[in-house]
C-alpha cells in the first residue's frame, strides 16, 4: 500500500471548497439580481390583466410571498435536487433540456481546445527554435491577426467560404440523426472557428515560454553533453515550456463557452449557447438561468481540473511553494 502524502490532498480539498463557494456565490448573485430587477414574478407571469387577488394567490402558491433569503434557500434546495422546474413552452423538465444539449457544447469546446493545442504548440516550438526567421515573423503577424478576429466573425467567414462559395454542404446543424461521421463533419467548421484564435494565442504563449526555457542552464548543460537537439527541445524543454500554456487552459474554457454561443447560433447547432440564446429571445428566464448555471458549473470544474493538472505536472504547487493564479480573463 502506498502512503498518501498529506500535501496533494489538502491542496485538492482546498481547491474543491473554493470552487464550491464560488459557484454558490454565482448562483446567489444571479438570484438576488433577478429578484431586484425583475420585480414580482407573479405579476410578470400572469400579465397586466391579472387581478391583485390572483397575483397574491399565485404568489402564495409558488412561495413568492416568503422573504428573499428563504426563497434563496428554497431555490438552492431545488438546484441541489436538480429541479429547475418545468419549461413553460415545451412542458419538459428544464434539467432534461440542459443535459440533452450539454454533450454538444462539450464536444465543440473540447475539440476546439484539442485542435488549438495540436497546432499551436508545434507552431510555437518552431517559432521559438527559429527566432526572427521568416516563419517566426509570419507566425507572429498571423497570430496577432487571428487573435484580433472575434470568433463570430471567423464563424461567419467560414460559413461564407465553405457553404456559400464552395458549396461544401451540409454545414448547419449537428447531424444528430446522420450517424457519427455526419456529426463529425458538421463539427469541423464550428471547431475551426473557435480554435483559430486560440491557435494564435497558444502559439504565442508557447513561443515566449519556450524562448525563456531554452535560455535555462539545464538546457545548456544538455547541449554540452551532446544530446540531440530534438531530444532537448521535445523531451526536456517542452515539458517546462508547456506549463504557462496549461495555466491558460482553464480560464480559456470560460472564454470558449462564451464564444461557443456564437458558433452554435451561427451554425444552428444545439447546445447550451443556443439554449440560453433562445431562452433570452423568448423571455424564457428559467431556461436561461439553468443554462447559465450549467456553464458556471462547467467553468468551475474546468478551472479545478486545470489546477489539478498543473499541480500534478509541477510539484512546487502541490507543496504550496507557488500559486497558479495567472492573470484571469
Amino acid at each position: 500500500m502506498t502512503r498518501v502524502e498529506p500535501g496533494p490532498w489538502r491542496y485538492f480539498a482546498s481547491r474543491v471548497v473554493t470552487a464550491a463557494f464560488i459557484v454558490v456565490g454565482a448562483i446567489t448573485l444571479l438570484f438576488v439580481l433577478t429578484q431586484l430587477v425583475r420585480g414580482n414574478p407573479a405579476e410578470v407571469l400572469l400579465g397586466p390583466r391579472a387581478t391583485a387577488e390572483a397575483v397574491a394567490e399565485f404568489a402564495r402558491r409558488m412561495g413568492l410571498d416568503l422573504p428573499v433569503h428563504e426563497r434563496l434557500l428554497q431555490f438552492f434546495g431545488q438546484v441541489i435536487r436538480g429541479d429547475f422546474g418545468v419549461d413553460i413552452i415545451s412542458g419538459r423538465p428544464i434539467l432534461d433540456m440542459v443535459l440533452e444539449v450539454m454533450p454538444f457544447t462539450l464536444a465543440l469546446t473540447f475539440s476546439a481546445i484539442a485542435l488549438a493545442f495540436l497546432i499551436g504548440v508545434p507552431l510555437g516550438c518552431y517559432a521559438a527554435t527559429h527566432p526572427n526567421g521568416v516563419g517566426d515573423r509570419i507566425a507572429a503577424v498571423l497570430s496577432v491577426g487571428l487573435i484580433s478576429m472575434p470568433s463570430f466573425v471567423v464563424s461567419i467567414y467560414l460559413l461564407l467560404v465553405f457553404s456559400i462559395w464552395l458549396q461544401w454542404l451540409p454545414v448547419l446543424g449537428a447531424g444528430g440523426s446522420g450517424g457519427i461521421l455526419d456529426q463529425l463533419t458538421r463539427l469541423v467548421l464550428p471547431t475551426s472557428a473557435l480554435a483559430i484564435g486560440w491557435i494564435g494565442y497558444v502559439a504565442r504563449l508557447t513561443r515566449s515560454s519556450m524562448v525563456e526555457t531554452l535560455a535555462e542552464p539545464y538546457i545548456r548543460t544538455s547541449r554540452a553533453y551532446g544530446l540531440a537537439e530534438s531530444k532537448i527541445i521535445y523531451k526536456y524543454a517542452l515539458k517546462n515550456a508547456c506549463l504557462p500554456t496549461l495555466a491558460v487552459l482553464g480560464l480559456g474554457t470560460g472564454r470558449l463557452f462564451g464564444e461557443a454561443v456564437f458558433a452554435e447560433v451561427i451554425f444552428a447547432r444545439p447546445g447550451l449557447g443556443t439554449l440560453i440564446y433562445t431562452g433570452i429571445s423568448t423571455r424564457n428566464y428559467p431556461v436561461v438561468q439553468a443554462g447559465v448555471f450549467a456553464i458556471v458549473l462547467l467553468f468551475a470544474m474546468a478551472n479545478l481540473a486545470t489546477d489539478m493538472a498543473y499541480a500534478w505536472v509541477d510539484p512546487r504547487i502541490r507543496a504550496g511553494l507557488r500559486g497558479t493564479s495567472a492573470g484571469r480573463r
Binding site: 454565482a26 496577432v144 478576429m149 463570430f152 504565442r204 491558460v248 470558449l256 440564446y277 433570452i280
Partner: protein, 277 residues
C-alpha cells in the same frame, strides 16, 4: 505625456496601432461628413457589390455599406468610451476601498470580484441581458459590469503596493485626512496602470458590444452598429457576402488597432502589467 507618445511611436506595432486607432476615431467623429446618409433606402440597388458610387456595396435594403460602417464606428467608439468611463470609475472606487479600507470592506468586495470572475465574460453579459432586457443603453451597463473587476483588481493591487510608502506615512503623521490621502495621493499614483488597463480593455468592450448586437440584443435596427451589420449580413448571406466581409474586417481592424495601441501604451507606462500575451 510627450515621452509616452514618443515611446509608443518608437515601437513599430505601437505606431501602426496608434495610426489605425486615430483613423477609426476620426472616421467615427466625422462620419456624417465623410459619407452619406446611412439609412437612405434604395430598393433597386440591393446587394450591390463595391463600386465607385458605393465603395463597399449596399445591403439588403440598398443602404450604402461604407456609410453604415463609418456610422458603426461611432457606436463602437461611443460604447467603448462610456463603458470604459463607468468601469474605470466603479472599479477604481471598489479597488481603492478594498485596498485602503478595513477588512470588513475588503472581504465583501474581493468576494464580489471572485464571483464575477467565475462567469465567463460573455455568459455573464448574456445573463445580465436576460435580467435587464436588450438595448444599447443596457449593453453599456452590462459590458461595464463585465469588465469592471479587471480595473478593481489592478486598483487594489496598486493601492496595496503603495499603502505603506514613506510619503504616505509622512502625510498621515502630518495629520492628513483619509480623504485627502486617497484623492490627492493614492489615486493620482495609481492612475497610470488604470489607464493601461482601460486601453487594454477597449478591444474586449468593442467585441462584446458587437457580439451582443449581432445576437440582436444590443443596438437595434435601423441603428448601424458593426454587430447589427454582421447580423443583417448573416441573415442575407446567400444573397451577398460583401456586408459580412466588410463589417467583419472593420471589427477585426478596430480590435487589432486597439490591441496594438494598448500593448504599446502598457509598455510605455508600466511594463510590469504584462498579464499574458
Amino acid at each position: 505625456m510627450s515621452t509616452i507618445f514618443s515611446h509608443i511611436w518608437r515601437s513599430s506595432t505601437g505606431r501602426f496601432g496608434l495610426i489605425l486607432a486615430v483613423a477609426i476615431i476620426g472616421s467615427a467623429a466625422f462620419a456624417p461628413w465623410l459619407a452619406g446618409d446611412p439609412n437612405r433606402i434604395d430598393v433597386f440597388n440591393r446587394f450591390a457589390g463595391p463600386s465607385w458610387q458605393h465603395w463597399m456595396g449596399t445591403d439588403h435594403l440598398g443602404r450604402d455599406l461604407f456609410s453604415r460602417i463609418l456610422h458603426g464606428a461611432r457606436i463602437a467608439m461611443e460604447v467603448a468610451a462610456a463603458v470604459t468611463a463607468i468601469a474605470l470609475s466603479l472599479g477604481t472606487v471598489l479597488g481603492v476601498a478594498a485596498g485602503y479600507g478595513p477588512r470588513q470592506v475588503e472581504r465583501p468586495i474581493l468576494i464580489l470580484f471572485d464571483i464575477l470572475y467565475s462567469f465567463p465574460n460573455l455568459i455573464f453579459a448574456l445573463a445580465l441581458v436576460a435580467i435587464l432586457g436588450p438595448g444599447l443603453d443596457n449593453v453599456v451597463i452590462i459590458v461595464a459590469m463585465t469588465v469592471m473587476p479587471h480595473f478593481g483588481r489592478i486598483a487594489r493591487a496598486q493601492v496595496l503596493r503603495l499603502k505603506h510608502a514613506p510619503f504616505l506615512e509622512a502625510e498621515r503623521v502630518l495629520g492628513a485626512s483619509t480623504a485627502r490621502i486617497v484623492f490627492r495621493h493614492v489615486i493620482p499614483n495609481i492612475a497610470g496602470p488604470l489607464i493601461v488597463v482601460a486601453g487594454m480593455e477597449v478591444p474586449a468592450v468593442i467585441t462584446i458590444e458587437a457580439g451582443l448586437s449581432f445576437l440582436g440584443l444590443g443596438a437595434r435596427p435601423p441603428l448601424a452598429s458593426w454587430g447589427t451589420l454582421l447580423h443583417d449580413g448573416y441573415t442575407y448571406l446567400s444573397q451577398s457576402g460583401w456586408p459580412v466581409f466588410f463589417a467583419g474586417m472593420m471589427l477585426t481592424t478596430a480590435t487589432l488597432a486597439f490591441t496594438l495601441f494598448g500593448e504599446a501604451l502598457r509598455d510605455a507606462i508600466d511594463p510590469r502589467l504584462r498579464m499574458d500575451p
